[in-house]
Amino acid sequence: MPAGTLYRGREGMWSWVAHRVTGVLIFFFLFVHVLDTSLVRVSPQAYDNVVATYKNPIVNLMEYGLVAAILFHALNGLRVIAVDFWSKGPKYQRQMLWSVVGIWIVLMAGAFYPVLDHTLRTLFGS
């Protein structure tokens, strides 16, 4: 890392990279999601067929990944807003980032079972 750099290579840069990557990912998901939801205008069968892919174990795992992306983007987005509008925001930006990471870990642990419940039940029986 170049000496004397305040931003490059530090937490601030990596949280910005993660915010950007998750934002783009969510946007692409939303585009596909509006297309799949539009099948309710075709027929109940067409819609139920596409929703069946959401219940596939691998896709179910990707949904857990989507939850991870959205939770990070949402929590870090609130941090960015606090840095911009709260007078002490810039001073506490690092502490806020670690709070974001902490809350994110807790929420991801809590979401594990409910989100993957469908897969756990189909793979390991009831």
């Binding site: 946007f27 939303l30 309710v40 027929s43 819609y47 179910n60 939850v67 949402a74 979401a111």
Partner: protein, 160 residues
């Protein structure tokens, strides 16, 4: 008189350029943002500032809308297992959830599209590439918002 032949104390030495002095001035460097004859006159709007503000205001609202949506769809009441045509029919029977989904659709699409505009501006360096990527983005955004809105308002639980 003697100052003209000797180097002044405040003269600047630039690599490979010899010594500049009042008699041998350095070339003038144009400031990068100077207004020139080809600069359009009426471009001074606050569009980027409003975009910046919109990202933050819509973000706060989206926390409630999107996290609430995920809670309902993936966590409560059996998670993804319960989703199907009948479930959607039940939800869109209520104007409250129709409005929730409509607002979420518009805010998330505009927030995401404006974010992607920034990303394109950052990485696409050729003018042509940047222009066409943004046209693709705007077309996809208008199409998606239009389709999603139409689906919410024309939903028919007795379609067959």
């Amino acid at each position: 008189m003697s100052a003209e032949t000797s180097t002044p104390a405040d003269a600047v030495e630039l690599a490979g350029a010899g010594t500049y002095s009042p008699d041998n001035p350095a070339p003038v460097i144009e400031p990068p943002r100077t207004r020139t004859k080809s600069t359009p006159r009426a471009t001074r709007t606050n569009f980027e500032m409003y975009g910046w503000l919109f990202m933050r205001l819509s973000g706060i609202v989206l926390v409630v809308l999107v996290l609430g949506h995920l809670l309902i769809q993936l966590v409560l009441d059996g998670g993804v297992t319960k989703i199907g045509f009948a479930f959607v029919a039940g939800r869109w029977a209520s104007p409250f959830w129709q409005m929730w989904d409509l607002l979420m659709l518009w805010l998330a699409m505009l927030h995401g599209a404006n974010g992607l505009r920034t990303v394109i501006n950052d990485y696409a360096e050729r003018d042509n590439t940047r222009f066409w990527l943004k046209m693709l983005l705007y077309t996809a955004t208008v199409f998606t918002v239009f389709l999603g809105t139409l689906v919410i308002f024309t939903f028919d639980p007795n379609i067959q």
